[in-house]
Symmetry: C2
Subunit: 880 residues, 2 copies
């Protein structure tokens, strides 16, 4: 079994196609080597080795270590140095590299191979003892933290304390003696924390570092990241062992990160940052604020020119924007990494469109290049330009969009408050992978330190979450839970607004406005629509929602919840009168008051959806939801209805249910009170004929909810069809319409062949179907569902991502059974899953006609449908 | 198409095998005719004609009427009389006759063919004008009520008023002039009610009577009956047109109903009643109290002897107890009907056993002869013989068993109070089919009038419901809602106790005792066990329940609900302490108090079930069910737990759920609080090892509830197996055990292949599975489910009878998937359907290993399992 792949001297054993085996980094390094680019020699231990390691109880698989030693020898030959050689020591970096990059989240150890002896060799070779000790203290720190698990703060505190003691401001202020002291102190810290001396044998260092990389695959931060990004757990990580080059050997050295295009806007310009006289992690960690890449042109014009050529070559080679890491060692450029760049939604769309125009990729590739979730960013609100805002501070615009929320200072607090339904903004000095869960929970992230490629910025962009970084003016006090800036003191719980597009942090709550979608977006969505097969409708209950959704490309309404109209204005009074009615006659009297109001609503919706079908669901929620709960309201209502408080309370009590989700709701209402269904049908058909007469094209689809047996649908459909016939006769005109049903109970799916006899369409209500299939109330799952997701008892939150194994099996069965009765049965989905990409892909695969989702999800659903049609179930493949 | 089957002159076109086509009565009459028995000539219009009539919009199918006229001609020839012939008129009876008899529930018209002319002929021929007018007034009354739909009370009032006016006590006190007056008055009533003259054309009378029989098939009372007795709606009824014979032609005439064995006890003795000088409906309607059949032996010894011979012959012929109707016309015996007799449970068992001993039937037939529901009667409580009782009155012991309840006087009230959870006794002067729903709702029925074959008696026996009839001492006042008898006045809502085995009506509530099962029962159940393949277990939570169930033949426990033990004694305190615990440590402290108590319970259950498996379910209900709700209790508990009332309330509030059925319960508790599962596992295994050491054979099966995903089961099973290993090590001994799961959520059924990887057995929790599959809360369905059943929107109450179409499909899928993973997976059912015969048959058919039901249903489940194994899905076939 070959576990180790070498690259050295312009030749590599791997190539770009071997991402599964070598990880993204390893494959990139091999490819760059083969392309003749300046890459330090090194080798990659495969992801198969990692998985074999776990399978065999955390033992290196047979042969792996020997192959590692052999490769190391080749690297020694290529560099002319010796690993552990006192006179000419080879140092290496050890870093992880999975198939899907998890930037900033996997552990990296630099300068491995250093000990008290090789240190001397390094000092002598470079003629720079200070450099050697600086490298050594970095190594002890990193190795101690990452491999040996020593609390990083212990090193940092010791380092800061020492700096304070000697009056140093910058790290570079420390002299060689100080660094010697610090190295000694660091080793002492390691000994105290682990009970062992810091390992001095380079081979032992290497072995333990490799194990640490493997271990990080199952570290909490990696697992969390995979969960959010839906990356399988059995891919494993590769290990990259690369000969060190040094960006911190003086002002003719440096290190940097750059993108071949602007990952925030998509503009075609080299975009990035570099730090002179620094090692790689200085840039990423955001400890020192880096310079713009353009500065390199002035500092080292030849290197810059070479770099630009390399960048262009790599983008053409990979046909995608590249995210590059490089180091300059004494004026020589070394490429350390290339990978497809993460980008904002706006950038993703613009880059995809530009590259089509440039002839670099075709339209299908362009469509596959944009993650459906990315579009969310394009549709995010922005700060209203007309609003008067008080800008507290301005930082770097790390991830676009805008958000308001309450300030919190700890990730745990962010999670807690978000779970309680609060919108929160996470404010941190800087972020680390340990803050990840808080970033997920927050509406936006603000940091005082760090640049555009800092942890906070990279992670926020990946999540499409508004983020401002490097906002140095903020004085954050974790202990007293506030931050001050100028005259402002903002306490925990105070509102701020964050504008990730401009970098502004704004006082209080500020009105946000919807973004306009630009030409690139329109062009891109045009291609999307060319590829997709699924229709995309929207869930909308008002003419306004319908219009918004239509502007996002909705092709009709898949779910109009009539009961939402019941609360508007004072019509709730008539609804309540209907509910407390003691006889059919009284009920009909109240219904007669509601009917014209509903008719008006429907007219507005038909008008807004001119030319498209509109699916209207008859009354669904249990009636007690419309009655007041508090004493004063009850008294007021009783007076209004001319009944006693006792009578009203008796009614409210009578309507009380143990499990309203499984109670008297849905078509069960219309079955017991057919007059309600009749009223709604009348409102629908009168509005439809009116709209038709006014010149609009209307296609009403009446949908009966919560059907468990074909007989329920039959009885309700009879009422609807009877009323339609009457209304058409009265109004002297008719419209085409359908009567169908929600499939939202397991029994409806199981008996779909029978139900299809009476149904002209099916629409899967996956919210309720998920609740009943799992026996899981969304309202009540808060006490255990997060734990279930965290512990991976459920692979995903089934209310977010359609459960294809269980619920999906019912859906497939219903489609098959329904179409066995009616081969052309129109079938859609109107649960919230209708806007979730993997669920949309599922809907495509099983042959649904349409999905329906909330207005803002419509473009996402369109894109997901196109990608599904292009045979890509998971859009995440393009992040590789 | 042949629609009419003749029988006349000792030859019939049909026979006993043609029940489907001719109905029970028609087939019986044909068979008796062929057997040479004295049957009046007549013909049967087929059930196919009835269904064709409905299919064609209530038109007689082509040819039917002509065939009817042809057959009528043959009857005229056989009797030598003419239909409508003034000089020698043929009169006929028209009665329904479906495949399954619905005694007293289908309309019968006698004396059809009478009009002002034929009346004269009848008078002349019989030389008895009074007889002729009496027949005429009966005919107008019956035809008016049944065919023309005139309110029967109008005839009754008129008749009673007239009797009062002329001072008549008995009907026979009326002279011919009075009867003439009455006939005229009755015709006037018909004219007023219908606006038409009473029809005088005999053929028109016949046509309309046939239509009325067809119509009665879909009358409310027939539909109700079919619903209760699970008879399909598409069988249709036949129509029997038979030449009239007259039991009311003087004291040498009479009419009667008899059984070849006692239908109440099964004793082998002719059992029945007859009324001299009366027409058939006088016996059935219970208006006159009839004489015992033995009286006939004295009154007409030759006729009696002939009748006994006929009865014996028919029983041998049909190999079952016969229910016979006969009429004696001027000393000549005519057989009007034979059918297999309805009987009590005790009689069913005794007759089946006796007939095997008599060599009449084999054991398999015997097993098929007893309806599973019949056994319910054998297991019903009886009045404690040692109890001091105040007997209010004694009537006829119409249906055995005993019951206590609150007195109600109207069937609607009975239904209303029963729905509110009250046990009620329906007290009526006499019952009619219109009272049927009230009889279903009541615990017992008491009537002031009527005999052992009256409506109340027959219906109550059919339902296995305790009933006392003919309790003439009761003075019932419907208006003031009470009855008086001697010194007692019993008002609506007062308690009485009814003993249907002795006929006693007893004051107040009296202790009831369990019946002993006799030798015939034991012998019968032995045969049952020889035939069945399914094991039968019981649902029992206490050692006592387990012992009772074992005495009923339970072969282990299929469901032991551990939480029921939580409420016993003061252990609820420790449970509550556990629930309000704020940390795992506190929780474990409280659990440590519960563990020894649970261990003790389990020990008792293992002991009671020595040699049989015991399935123990881990904690299932949501924790808030264990906390108090009312203020005073909350205060007391807070004090006991040394916390503030506010703290306790906060805890209670925190545990509140919108939909507890779908909330934090089942294994979701054990997943979040693994220490609860661990405690329960410890109690189980410690008890098991203890019991083993004490010499008992124990087979614990630990069952994890509410699993929706294999991961839940995996985690819980790990805990159980870990604890088992620990306990076995600690105690130095071990027992065999299984860990399995409830399948009670649709998702569990859908992913049963995955779940079977971790499960050693499945047990279907069909209660919850029905709730989630239908999206229907049993607690909340009261407002609409009865309407659904009534309107046949659901064919059956899915909580009573397993829904094979929907829920059953999931179950079959789970069995198939589960066994695809583990071919020998043990599978049972522990929902309440486990004791319902048609559901047991389903379980047999799909290959389950066992059913589990409440202790008193165990014999029923055993019998249902045996019948299923004998290839009879519906035991009701033997009622035919």
């Amino acid at each position: 079994m070959k576990y180790v792949y070498l690259y050295a001297n312009g030749k590599a054993e791997g190539d770009a196609s071997m991402k599964d085996l070598l990880g993204g980094k390893g494959a990139g390094l091999a490819e760059m080597t083969n392309a003749g680019l300046p890459v330090p020699p090194g080798f990659t231990i495969t992801t198969q080795a990692c998985m074999a390691y776990y399978r065999s109880g955390q033992q290196f698989p047979e042969g792996m270590w020997q192959q590692t030693l052999d490769a190391l020898k080749k690297v020694e030959e290529a560099t002319g140095k010796g690993f552990g050689d006192r006179n000419n020591p080879l140092l290496v970096s050890v870093r992880s590299g999975a198939k899907f990059s998890m930037p900033g989240m996997m552990d990296t150890v630099l300068n491995l191979g250093l000990n008290e002896e090789t240190l001397q060799g390094l000092a002598e070779l470079t003629g720079n003892e200070r450099f050697a000790y600086d490298a050594y203290r970095r190594f002890i720190n990193m190795f101690g933290k990452i491999v040996l698990g020593v609390d990083a703060e212990r090193f940092e505190h010791a380092f800061e304390d020492y700096k304070k003691k000697v009056g140093a401001v910058l790290d570079t202020d420390l002299d060689v003696d100080s660094l010697k002291q610090i190295c000694a102190e660091f080793k002492q810290i390691v000994k105290e924390a682990t009970g062992e001396d810091f390992p001095s044998d380079p081979l032992q260092q290497l072995e333990r570092a490799i194990r640490a990389v493997f271990a990080s695959w199952n570290g909490r931060r990696a697992v969390d990241y995979r969960r959010v990004h839906k990356i399988p757990d059995d891919l494993g990580t590769a290990v990259n062992v690369v000969a060190m080059v040094f960006g911190n050997m003086g002002n003719d050295s440096g290190t940097g990160v750059a993108f071949t295009r602007d990952p925030s806007t998509g503009e075609k310009v080299i975009f990035g940052e570099y730090l002179p006289n620094a090692q790689g992690e200085d840039v990423v960690a955001g400890i020192r604020t880096p310079k713009k890449i353009s500065q390199l042109q002035q500092d080292m014009p030849e290197v810059y020119e070479q770099f630009v050529k390399v960048a262009e070559m790599l983008e053409r080679h990979y046909k995608d924007v590249q995210d590059l890491e490089f180091t300059i060692e004494r004026g020589k450029l070394w490429m350390l990494q290339t990978r497809n760049a993460k980008r904002t939604g706006a950038a993703a769309v613009r880059i995809a469109v530009d590259m089509v125009h440039e002839g670099l990729i075709d339209k299908a590739t362009a469509v596959l290049r944009v993650e459906p979730g990315h579009l969310d960013q394009l549709l995010h609100p922005m700060v209203d330009p007309k609003a008067e805002v008080k800008v507290i501070a301005t930082g770097l615009p790390a991830s676009p969009g805008a958000a308001c929320g309450k300030v919190v200072f700890s990730p745990d607090e962010a999670v807690k408050m978000a779970e309680a339904g609060e919108k929160v903004i996470l404010v941190r000095v800087e972020t680390s992978p340990d803050d990840f869960h808080g970033m997920v929970a927050a509406q936006a992230i603000v940091t005082a330190r760090g640049g555009m490629t800092s942890h906070a910025a990279v992670v926020a962009r990946g999540m499409g979450k508004c983020c401002v970084v490097g906002c140095g003016a903020l004085h954050i006090d974790y202990a007293s839970e506030n931050f001050s800036v100028g005259e402002y003191v903002i306490n925990k719980g105070d509102y701020i607004t964050v504008d990730g597009s401009s970098g502004r942090v704004i006082f209080g709550q500020v009105p946000l406005v919807e973004p306009k979608m630009d030409e690139a977006f329109a062009e891109f969505m045009g291609w999307v629509d060319d590829f997709r097969k699924l229709k995309v409708r929207t869930n909308a209950d008002t003419p306004n929602d319908a219009s918004v959704a239509r502007s996002f490309g909705a092709e009709g309404i898949g779910l109009c919840r009539t009961e939402h109209m019941f609360f508007e204005g004072d019509r709730i009074d008539a609804v309540r009168e209907m509910i407390v009615a003691e006889s059919k006659a009284e009920r009909e009297k109240a219904l007669a008051k509601i009917e014209p109001l509903q008719r008006e609503d429907f007219f507005g919706i038909f008008k807004a959806m001119d030319g498209f079908p509109v699916t209207i669901r008859t009354l669904d929620p249990p009636l007690h939801e419309f009655l007041p709960r508090d004493e004063a309201e009850i008294e007021a209502l009783a007076a209004k209805l001319h009944i006693t408080v006792a009578q009203l309370k008796r009614k409210i009590d009578a309507l009380h249910e143990m499990n309203p989700m499984l109670g008297h709701r849905g078509c069960r209402l219309g079955i017991l009170y057919p007059e309600i269904t009749a009223m709604q049908a009348r409102a629908i058909f009168e509005a439809a004929v009116q709209a038709k007469k006014a010149g609009f094209k209307v296609f009403p689809e009446v949908m009966i909810p919560l059907v468990s047996d074909v007989n329920e649908l039959r009885l309700q459909a009879e009422i609807v069809r009877d009323v339609a016939a009457k209304v058409f006769a009265e109004m002297g005109d008719s419209v085409d319409y359908l009567v169908g049903t929600m499939i939202e109970l397991p029994r409806a799916a199981l008996t779909a062949d029978e139900i299809a006899r009476e149904a002209e369409f099916f629409s899967f209500g996956t919210n309720d179907l998920t609740q009943t299939t799992y026996g899981l109330s969304r309202d009540d799952s808060g006490r255990f569902l997060p734990f279930y997701i965290e512990q991976k008892i459920y692979k995903e939150d089934p209310f977010q991502v359609l459960d294809q194994t269980g619920v999906g099996k019912l859906i497939e069965m219903a489609v098959r059974l329904g179409r066995s009765t009616k081969p052309n049965l129109k079938i859609g989905i109107c649960g919230e899953h209708g806007g979730e990409p993997s669920s949309v892909a599922f809907c495509h695969r099983i042959g649904l006609d349409y999905v329906s989702c909330s207005p803002y999800r419509v473009p996402i659903a369109r894109l997901a449908a196109a990608q599904a049609a292009l045979g890509v179930a998971k859009a995440s493949s393009q992040t590789a």
